[in-house]
Subunit: 458 residues, 2 copies
């Protein structure tokens, strides 16, 4: 009888708790959708500040603006964490054309890849060799590559449902193409934009010369997908055509910047830290609305929603707006190093860096035991059409926090439109849908609430 009573009590407590959680999630979603702040913050960040490349004036403006907004939320503490970041500057607008016969030219849209060196001041003109992969480049060998512009033209794979997988299968051309082509004596590199659409926007992104000496580095640019299709078809007609491009980008010395951090102190376990964040820097072509202004304002909104809904966290909840994800990851590394140095115990970190689209769920990088526990909350999210709880990667900025205890998580929004805008001129505020952004913020806040309430397993 006593056992039965105990069981009844346990069931009652569980049902009560489930109901309480349902109610709290409803409060969070309602508050985000009816009196959310994320969209207004992003409007300012995108339209009043704009692209926020590390080391730029705009990046510093963004630090000041977001700090000021966090200051207004009544958090327990808001501060700036200094971090030295690389400063790469695009210079004047790039210019490129295909020359099919002397004087017969067609302009094509290109942009320098982040970190690239400039062309000679008069530009670079050379024959072109098209390849589909780094392996193909290696197989061709130096004699056919020497002095030429290597054109990497492997498209993103359209039949993959998750477009990040298609990106992952292609991005080596951009990140390593220049380094590898330089080893074979190429004069420059042109990379097909990481974009599933055919359009006229070149998409920038980091290229990495590795340990190549400065004088061995060759200029690298992205060409729009339409430009890549044109160049490829003209090459089949005339393999001897020439490609011309000019860019004046330049790397300066590192400069001081900041991660922007705010926290609500935990009432029961203040030493257990939960991080939610995005990266405040962006590329310079658009205004970085999806990558990753969205993730920043959603993360700020998580703390605002916690306060707005009157929830008192047991653990310390910290928003971190990381600086320099795009071309260095210095902010993420600095944050993790300082956390380690101070002996802070991070139990959970969630990043939003996949665009401000309708949220579909999360990906978790953690032990099977922790994943099983978290998966138990899945049904709470179903009324909000959140179905995807999977094990996998999380986010670049929180990666350096990884150890064998922490649970790392990444928000997984619908990925179909992301690479239409990623790192391109059209990643702008008009491509943001208010409700999609707000649903993402509420989904993140809901997960943070549950992790705070129930904790993680050690």
């Amino acid at each position: 009888m006593r056992k039965l009573l105990f069981i009844i009590l346990l069931i009652t407590v569980n049902v009560f708790s489930q109901n309480e959680d349902e109610k709290q999630l409803k409060k969070i979603y309602d508050a985000s959708l009816t009196k959310g702040q994320s969209y207004e913050w992003l409007k300012y960040l995108s339209n009043q500040i704009g692209g926020r490349l590390s080391g730029s004036l705009n990046a510093e403006k963004a630090v000041k603006y977001t700090k000021k907004q966090l200051d207004s939320l009544g958090l327990d503490r808001v501060w700036l964490q200094p971090v030295m970041v690389p400063k790469w500057v695009r210079g004047t607008a790039e210019f490129a054309y295909i020359e099919t016969a002397p004087g017969v030219t067609t302009n094509v849209p290109i942009c320098a890849l982040g970190g690239s060196v400039a062309t000679p001041s008069g530009g670079l003109k050379a024959n072109v060799i098209e390849v589909k992969s780094l392996d193909e480049l290696a197989a061709i060998g130096p004699e056919k590559i020497e002095g030429k512009i290597v054109f990497f033209n492997r498209p993103m794979q359209a039949d993959l449902i998750n477009t990040f997988q298609a990106y992952g299968g292609c991005v080596d051309q951009r990140s390593s193409g220049a380094r590898e082509a330089a080893k074979f004596g190429a004069a420059g590199v042109i990379v097909r934009s990481m974009n599933l659409r055919l359009d006229d926007f070149p998409h920038t992104g980091g290229t990495n010369y590795g340990d190549l000496q400065l004088d061995q580095r060759i200029p690298a640019a992205a060409i729009s997908t339409n430009g890549a299709e044109l160049l490829s078809s003209l090459l089949t007609l005339n393999p001897d055509l020439q490609f011309y491009f000019k860019q004046t980008c330049r790397q300066f010395d590192d400069v001081l910047s900041y991660n922007v951090i705010g926290e609500i102190k935990g009432s029961e376990f203040p030493d257990e830290v939960l991080v939610v964040g995005g990266h405040l820097d962006s590329w310079d072509l658009g205004d970085g609305s999806h990558d990753d202004g969205a993730g920043c304002v959603q993360s700020m909104e998580v703390l605002r929603l916690i306060k707005e809904t009157g929830y008192q966290p047991k653990r310390t909840i910290r928003v971190v707006l990381f600086m320099n994800e795009e071309n260095g990851l210095r902010g993420g590394r600095k944050y993790a190093a300082e956390a380690k140095a101070k002996g802070e115990r991070h139990v959970f970190a969630l990043e939003s860096d996949s665009g401000g689209f309708t949220p579909r769920g999360f990906s978790f990088d953690c032990s099977d035991e922790n994943f099983a526990r978290i998966e138990g909350w899945k049904s709470l999210f179903e009324p909000y059409l959140i179905h995807l709880f999977e094990q996998g990667g999380s986010g670049a900025d929180i990666g350096p926090l990884k150890d064998d205890q922490i649970v790392l998580a990444g928000l997984r929004p619908d990925s179909q439109r992301y690479f239409d805008y990623h790192h391109a001129e059209n990643d702008t505020f008009d491509a943001i849908n208010k409700r999609e952004l707000e649903l993402g913020a509420a989904t993140m806040a809901s997960l943070i609430y549950l992790v705070d309430k129930y904790g993680t397993l050690k």
Copy 2:
């Protein structure tokens, strides 16, 4: 032992069948995403033809174009089904302003509701009474309404996750507002646009006078959400302000139009018909890309994908592009009536009429037994991030086919952006994402394949 062998055989067959289904779905999605036709068809329908209001020249062009495209697919039969449709014409662009003091005016964007009568030729100017519902209107009563313009201003509910639910909770203002206000002697009606965003686009849509005589009908228009907010706030400052609007819309006699139909004859059960469709007519303000050009080209693509992937259907699969969903449903009614008259046995019908956005699943209107059977296929869709199988409504055009045996289904795409465009000037081709459209077509084709293969329960 024999029983064991039988069970092993059964399991083997099931596993084989499951594998075969997985492969067929993969083929369908691959074909849609890598060599799909839906986007090109929609580009033509939207950009070369445009808005396709019933009875318009564009609607007739769309009939010819889609028939020609179906003719090119090598189907077993393609035909036009004649149907008489209403012909309502908007006339010259509407014009409206708020007059806060004599001569002090602010223009606001409006559009006539479909089916509305015109204002007097010099326009209509009157005081305004704002209400939030038909109930509130009834409670106010005739003496305060007589001679005034009734302004229906209940916004769509932002905290509902499914935006169609928010639409359902508001649209009575548009569909019945004019009829009810006329009964109380109102001079005209202005309805807040069915739109969750604040912007400057008025959204049209049908209004229904019921059995009101022609001389009792009052002009009705939609105002943009920004315009509605402005009008409401000005009314609080000055309840005696006047509203002016002018519209020259007109109803003509019914005209002849067509449903466009194509079919692949079933190899085993040709008398069991599966329908897949959307509606070919649209409102006249935009080009009807999402509503419902998307559903039409997706439905056409279903038949193309079946042929492209080499699948030979057992049952008869028919694409139907219905005419006149928006202001009459004549096409849907005609199709069902003729099917009944001919004694055709329809076992399944699927409509896509919720926009060309990322598909999330389906809603089924059928017996519990049939739903349970269909739910058994859910895991096959998970690799494509299709998680939503629910019981509920299907689509307006296929509704008239309903009986106690048929399974009716509606594609359920992500609904967050739909009402940004619905019935407005910005429902145009640039709001379509190619991959989202193609994923929808593949999801529909996959369901049709499974229903064809396994049949439905009687």
